[in-house]
């Protein structure tokens, strides 16, 4: 069920009924969110609850008493600890600042005041980090409604605007060095809306709700996108139509020299601007794909247009044919090894949008209308591609998928698959978890759905806890081949009980499917288990609607089935490590480097 067709006032008016209907959905991911507020937080929480329910989560909330965000976190955290939150959201506003600079305040005094206020929040964050395993979301500050010093307010050391800009910069610095702290950019959200539309002073004086309902909704949507990102549910692929979406006109009718692109006319400029937006997304790691009803050869010519900012190399997948679009989208999902629920589809044609939305489960189809000049803003408002942090991995992902295409074309030329695998000259680094990689390990664990035996999710904090716990044997795998570095692509986590090692996690990125990585991982795992005096490995398969591909994973690796039942059911598998001989044939496993 999508909430897109409801206005903010409808959402609030029909909230209880919508909540009841949405809560009937099965398979929702539970998430426990504590909200520590400096003003009344109920409206933001109500809207966030609806957005999360519609986005596949079953949230439970804890809300601090009004205004007690500091006390609840620092002095009296018992209730917060007992709630065991996955996420703590500290929702504060400019009114919660204890002491603001006055006109005449010196530079040193301004600095002290900023540090004092920042220090109060550092106390809050540290206390939460110490007492809970939660990810923290802290908003930064909107500017106050009045700049009493006029333009000088942003310049003078006695200016309140200057104080908040400095405080926000301190918050950003804290978050940059603390992966458990994320900043919600309320300063940006309120600026986008305009402070006149952000604050609602009548409601503040009456109920201590500071914002308009639109302001509350903007905060709730941005929070929902952060929660999706924390759980690895942000979208990954932007699927684009061509005619009247990436250029003006119909290339099959008009020809490549007549399509509208470039700087010559307002219409041409608007298409170029949208192409630039798409390239921007690509640069930060969003994959692009084409899905267009067109002759493929002619469609490709569009990107040879001298003013086309987008080039063929930007696309990880290119489907231009006369098949129904939803079928092409499913084919794209298969080729990229990604779920279509991580896709956003953009097409100027409402009929195509409707059929894709109806036929492809979970895909996001924003109603972009038909004015290309509005497309980017509408896609942005959907907050589909929210990242938690930018890893080098994200930045090079687009390039990785490109070299995957090159691998696929090579595959056809070999006599047998083994020969092909050998030609890839693969080397793997398979070692125990390291602090350096723990963020990526948690990220991979939370976003992998298909090659994932148990689909257990771990917050970054939980994964960090595993690092220091001697009961656990956690292995990560990185794979390189002649086309490049695939990065960290596999995680196995075993938990020791007596002489058995229970495999709580075994997962792998689908971009290295069918390379034999799982065999290499097992070789190292058995070695490590033996060294630790473990007699047997116990593997578990917990079926979901996405991980059928690994139903026979342990069988293929030579484990004995312990439980009975059909292949599709949950099962337990056992491997005696004493008579195991290493089997990895096509991947060279690098010797660990110590010191």
């Amino acid at each position: 069920m999508t909430l897109d067709k409801y206005s903010v006032e409808d959402l609030l008016q029909k909230r209880r009924g919508l909540r009841r209907k949405l809560a009937e959905t099965e398979g929702l991911q539970p998430v426990r969110i504590a909200v520590l507020g400096g003003t009344t937080t109920n409206e933001v929480v109500d809207l966030l609850e609806l957005l999360l329910l519609a986005g596949g989560f079953r949230p439970e909330f804890y809300q601090s008493e009004y205004g007690r965000f500091y006390e609840d976190a620092v002095h009296d955290p018992a209730d917060l600890i007992a709630f065991a939150p996955n996420i703590v959201y500290i929702h504060t506003c400019h009114l919660n600042v204890l002491s603001l600079p006055a006109p005449g305040c010196s530079e040193e005094e301004l600095k002290e005041r900023v540090e004092a206020e920042h220090g109060r929040y550092v106390q809050i964050w540290k206390s939460i980090e110490q007492h809970t395993q939660a990810q923290i979301i802290q908003n930064n500050f909107e500017l106050p409604p009045h700049a009493l010093l006029g333009n000088l307010d942003a310049v003078s050391s006695g200016g309140v605007y200057r104080f908040f800009l400095a405080l926000n910069a301190e918050f950003a610095r804290s978050a940059a060095s603390d992966s458990r702290l994320m900043i919600q950019d309320v300063h940006g959200l309120s600026a986008q809306m305009g402070l006149r539309h952000w604050f609602d002073w009548d409601r503040y004086f009456s109920y201590k709700i500071l914002t308009t309902i639109e302001g509350s909704f903007a905060m709730a949507s941005s929070l929902a996108s952060m929660v999706r990102a924390i759980y690895g549910k942000s979208c990954k692929v932007l699927v684009l139509d061509l005619d009247n979406t990436l250029w003006g006109g119909v290339i099959g009718d008009d020809g490549v020299d007549k399509i509208q692109l470039g700087r010559e006319t307002p219409v041409a400029e608007s298409y170029t601007a949208f192409q630039e937006y798409c390239v921007g997304l690509w640069r930060r790691g969003v994959l692009l794909a084409v899905c267009s009803k067109n002759n493929e050869e002619i469609a490709r010519q569009g990107f040879e247009h001298p003013d086309s900012v987008l080039k063929l190399t930007h696309f990880s997948c290119f489907k231009a044919n006369w098949e129904p679009k939803h079928e092409n989208i499913l084919a794209i999902a298969k080729e990229l090894n990604l779920g279509a629920d991580s896709f956003v589809f953009v097409d100027d044609n409402p009929a195509e949008r409707a059929i894709v939305e109806a036929q492809v489960g979970g895909i996001a189809v924003p109603d972009v209308g038909s004015e290309v000049s509005r497309f980017a803003a509408i896609i942005e408002a959907g907050r589909y591609f929210e990242p938690v942090s930018m890893t080098a991995e994200d930045l090079s992902r687009a390039a990785l998928y490109e070299s995957n295409t090159a691998r696929a074309s090579m595959e056809a030329k070999f006599a047998n698959y083994g020969e092909y695998l050998d030609s890839l000259e693969m080397t793997a680094e398979i070692e125990r978890f390291k602090p350096l990689y723990i963020e990526r390990i948690a990220q991979l664990t939370n976003k992998t759905n298909q090659f994932n035996l148990t689909t257990r999710r771990y917050s970054l904090a939980e994964m960090e806890a595993v690092l220091d716990d001697s009961r656990y044997i956690g292995l990560y795998g990185k794979l390189s081949d002649r086309f490049g570095d695939n990065g960290l692509i596999s995680v196995v986590l075993g938990r020791r009980e007596d002489d058995d090692l229970h495999l709580d996690l075994w997962l792998m990125s689908c971009r290295v499917l069918k390379r034999g990585v799982e065999v290499a991982m097992l070789d190292v795992l058995v070695q490590q288990a033996r060294d630790a005096g473990i007699a047997a490995l116990l593997g578990y398969y917990l079926p979901t609607n996405k991980n059928a591909m690994v139903a026979d994973h342990y069988e293929k690796l030579g484990f004995e089935r312990v439980t009975t039942g059909s292949t599709a059911e949950a099962s337990t598998w056992k491997l005696d490590v004493s008579n195991y001989t290493p089997r990895s044939a096509h991947i060279k496993i690098m010797e660990p480097v110590y010191g």
């Binding site: 006032e9 008016q13 909230r15 209880r16 109920n42 009548d202 009456s206 109920y207």
Partner: protein
């Protein structure tokens, strides 16, 4: 304007998620289930949006029941 009671009933039914709620001029927070302070905020916001009016600070404090609210809405609409 005589439909205001009916329109308010629809808003109350939505906000309180009580599809069979029957609203009368004498309905008030003590004889309508779940009409608590948080629901009240939603009711006021929905009414303001529905009639494109804004209640002034303090205007709502003196209202005893739905009848008073209807009269206030009528007065505000007439003044526009």
């Amino acid at each position: 304007m005589d439909n205001i009671l009916e329109e308010l009933q629809e808003i109350f039914r939505d906000v309180l998620d009580q599809p069979d709620l029957v609203l009368t001029r004498s309905s008030n927070a003590s004889n309508v289930d779940d009409w608590d302070s948080l629901a009240h905020i939603n009711l006021v916001t929905s009414i303001e949006k529905r009639y494109k009016i804004r209640f002034a600070l303090g205007e709502l404090q003196d209202l005893k029941d739905v009848g008073d609210m209807i009269d206030l809405i009528k007065a505000k609409l007439a003044a526009q």
